[in-house]
Structure formats: structure tokens, C-alpha cells
């Protein structure tokens, strides 16, 4: 049975109160390294959102129409990863063609979306929480947008922090992690307001 949650509230919950990055801390590597630059953050946010939405929906279909009926539930991890890898591969080619500039700024982080925990994480949430098709679509889109929102905000904050007198020992990743901690507190503060499961 899918949980009784309205898609709209699930959508906002996944963006804000259960933000995949700041509430679940998934997808940190690229979050920290790419947020140095606002434009790249935006691009990567878009890419993650697209990949997450597509893989969420495709993996839901694979799970419900192939793995459950054939009793191959135990293969889900392998199959999910294969689907994610394929989608990233296709997206990479499309971005290279449509926007070489974005392709260049994303660089190595584009193929690395494959191993972005946020994506696998969201797909596994979909499976564990037993979402319906529509809920899965909304949840994965929301999670993607949430990731995008988080990385864009962090990039903006880091731009300010760069000009601030940060103690030498905290420069770079140190102050970034502290910043992320504050952001997470702000997001988690509202965590009870909207249900996700």
C-alpha cells in the first residue's frame, strides 16, 4: 500500500523539510566541491534534477513491472545503478551537444552524477516508502529541486563567506561544512511539518 500523502505536500516536503541534502545529507561530495562557483552549481543542480526525475520514474517502473513480478526484488541495487548510469550517459551526450559551455564547467562531476548518493538515495526511499507512481515522480522531482536549491544557496553563501575574515584554519572546506551545518539546522527545524512517509 502506498502511503496516504497528497502529492503536493510530498513535493514541498521533499524540497524543504526533508531536503535530500540538508535533512538526509546525501550527495555531499559534489555539493561541497562544485558550490565554489554559482553558475556551475546551477548547472549541476539542473543536471541532478533531470537525472533524479528520470531515474526515479524509470526505476519505479522497473521495480514494479519487472523486479516484483519476476521475484527479482533482491537485484534492485544492481538494476537501479545500471539505470542511473545509462541515464547519466545519455544526459552527458545531450548536454555536450546542446551546451558545450555547461558541459565544460561541469567537467568530471557530470559523469560522477552516476555515483551521486542523492540519486541512489532518493530511488531507495521510493522503494522503501512504497510510493505510488505519481508520488515517486513528484518525490524525485522535488528531491532534485531540493538538491538544486541547497547547492545554489550554498554557492551564494560561499560567495559572501569568501569576502569575510575567516580564520586561516577554517578556510575552504572547514567553513563550508560549518555553513552547511547551519543550513541543515534551518531546514531540519521544520521537519515535522510535512509528512514524507
Amino acid at each position: 500500500m502506498s502511503p496516504q500523502i497528497s502529492p503536493l505536500s510530498l513535493f514541498f516536503a521533499s524540497i524543504l523539510t526533508s531536503n535530500i541534502l540538508l535533512a538526509n545529507f546525501l550527495g555531499m561530495c559534489s555539493f561541497i566541491s562544485i558550490s565554489k562557483d554559482f553558475n556551475s552549481s546551477n548547472g549541476l543542480g539542473l543536471a541532478v534534477t533531470v537525472v533524479l526525475t528520470i531515474t526515479g520514474v524509470v526505476n519505479w517502473a522497473v521495480l514494479h513491472y519487472i523486479l516484483y513480478p519476476l521475484g527479482l526484488y533482491y537485484l534492485r541495487f544492481i538494476v537501479f545503478i545500471i539505470v542511473i548510469a545509462a541515464v547519466v550517459q545519455i544526459l552527458e551526450m545531450v548536454i555536450d551537444r546542446l551546451s558545450p559551455a555547461l558541459y565544460m564547467t561541469l567537467g568530471i562531476f557530470l559523469p560522477l552524477i552516476t555515483v551521486n548518493c542523492a540519486i541512489m538515495g532518493a530511488v531507495l526511499f521510493i522503494e522503501i516508502r512504497n510510493y505510488s507512481f505519481f508520488q515517486s515522480a513528484v518525490f524525485s522531482l522535488g528531491s532534485g529541486l531540493g538538491w538544486w536549491l541547497a547547492i545554489a544557496s550554498l554557492a551564494a553563501i560561499r560567495k559572501k563567506v569568501d569576502k569575510a575574515p575567516v580564520p586561516a584554519g577554517l578556510k575552504g572546506p572547514g567553513i563550508t561544512l560549518i555553513t552547511i551545518g547551519f543550513m541543515a539546522m534551518a531546514f531540519i527545524g521544520f521537519s515535522g511539518m510535512l509528512k514524507v512517509q
Binding site: V62, I66, L67, L70, G71, L72, L75, I78, V79, I82, V83, A86, Q89, I90, M93, V94, D96, R97, P100, A101, M104, G107
Partner: protein, 373 residues
Amino acid sequence: MFVPVLLASSAVGVITAILALLISVTDKIVNNYGEVTIDINQGKRQLKVKGGSPLLFSLAEVGIYVPSACGGRGSCGACKVKVTSDVGPHLPTELPYMSKEETAANVRLSCQIKLKKDIKIQIPEALFNIKRYKGKVERIRNVTHDIKEVYIRLEEPNEIDFLAGQYVQLMVPPYDKIKEPTERAYSMSSRPSDRNHVELLIRLVPGGIVTTYVHTRMKEGEPVTITGPFGEFHVRETGATMICVAGGSGMAPFKSIFYDMLEKGKTDREIWYFFGARTKRDLFYLEELKQIEAQWPSFHFIAALSEPQPEDDWKGETGLITQVLEKYLTTQIDRTKPMEGYLCGSPGMLDACIAVMKKFQVPPDKIYFDKFA
């Protein structure tokens, strides 16, 4: 028992196959750039090629061989080409090889530029003379325990024109786990007057694709493909004292240069040739060099061993080649005369020798070398 295993593997197989199909279909649609035109030297030559592959390979397909020591992996920085049309900003893979002036002039690494639309480039006219030669290995000889002298007879075309000191790229066929033909650059040790042959000195590099092939598989009589000649490493026609430093197979271009100068009777120039090796068994061509010394009063050959073994019974110079070079520059070489540096060896040796030469006021723009990496 077998059914679930079979079912599981076939399910994963089918899903993977569908996704692979999707990827290749997208690849066909997205990466189809159609035919693109390469305009060389402002309309001198117009080439129509299939888009989608790197400029370096597209040019090679139509017989224009831009030098590339690494074979298009973006690790040697040799395949520089000036692009006059817009192909986007420099890639991170190109920047390490570009000086400020080159970046400003939009000089690019042709192996990193994917042909997506019509392009205008400028290349030296000399590149049109670079050809791909088919030949046969006539003789392979061990000159030391890890250096082989490979003598190649050219067949198609059967004559090569080059300046002593230049290099060619040797291509070896796929073997073992290497799935594609591989090219690496080697200086020619044969003299330019021996127009039907090319001789290379190839030292075994552990893990090296081409050197391993040459040392373990190449046989006399085997067909080979080489491309060339390339490089700016040749004797400048000045009267300056030539200070030459080599190590290992870096002997190759100097062998060619010295014999060429002897043949042409240019023995009035003063030459100091420093050759560095680890032990006595790494030294070679000593007899030949002695003969040159005998015919050429102002030619000085100095071999130095960095780790002479007790059984070597070595009476010559010891120490790193840079230390020996420094010693001779301080005590033996007349530094009031103009000097030129000629270097061939490992990148580490090159850098160290350049530093020593600069210290002794050899002008940096008069230190010549080809860096292979």
C-alpha cells in the same frame, strides 16, 4: 535451482541491453555532426571530413600529420594548431600546455578539439611534407641490455627527407590487452643521407606499450609504419659552441647529427658531448664516438657514470650528468665564445640541464630540445 539464476541473469541482461541500445541510438542522433569543412591556411586547402572526431585524427585521415608524441591522449602537448574560427574556450586538458601568448592567439591542442562545425586553422607548410611510411624491419641489434637499435628499410614511399635530430612516430599493432595500434615518438639515429632507411634507438620502458612490443615481439622482416619527420631539434647554422647532453636512448639524435656534420665537413665547430649513464653496461657507441673524436679535433666526448660498479673499473667522470656538465662549464669550456645547448633525454634530465645552462649564461632561447612525454 537453475531457473531463478537463469531468470535473474537474463533479467539484468535484458535491462542492460535495452539501456545500451538506448545509449547507442542517442549517440547516433546526438553525435551526428554531418560533414564539416576544415579550412587550412586561409583557403589554401579545403577538406571535407566527417564531424564528431578530434581534429588531430580527422587531419591524419586525409594525410596531414600534426606531430603528436603521445598519440592523441593529450599528454604531450605537441599537436598544437592555431585555430582562427570559434571553437569555444580552452579546455582544462589543454591549458597546462599553453603559454599566455598561445592562449591569446587561440592555439589549441588538436587532439582535444572535437569537430562539431566548420573550422579554420593555420598550420606550418612543413606539415604537408610529413608522410606516413610503410617499411620493413631490416635489423634489430642490442646496443645495451635495455636499448635496441632498430633499422628500418622504407618501402612506400621509399625515401625520407629530414634534418638530423628530427623524430618520427613508430606505430605498433595491437597486442595482448592493447586493443588499438599505438604510436610513440623516437628520434632518428640514422643520417639524413641514408634516405632509404630510418634507424631508431628504443629503450625498454617498464610498462611502455611500444617499447615493450619492440623489445619482446618485434622481429626482423616485420612490416612497420612510421610517420614523420617532426620536431624542431636540429643543428642551428651558427658558429657557436655546441653543448650537447644526452642520456640513454637520447643518444639517437646526436648520432645522426654528428655523422651528418662529419659527412658535410662541418668539423670546424666546437662540440662538447656529455653522455650520462648509470653503470658501464648502460654505455654504448663508445668506439664510434672515439672515431669521431679522432677525425674531429674540436669534438669532445665526455661519458659520466652516476653509479659506477666496482667491476666496471671506471676511470672516467662520475656523478650526475648535471654535476659533470657544471664542472666542465666551470673549468674546460671557453665561456667567452657564444654557446648553444642541445639536449635529449628524460624530462627530469632536461629540466636539470636547462637550469645548469641558464646558470652559465647559455641564452634560454638557444637551448634546443624536443620534449616527449
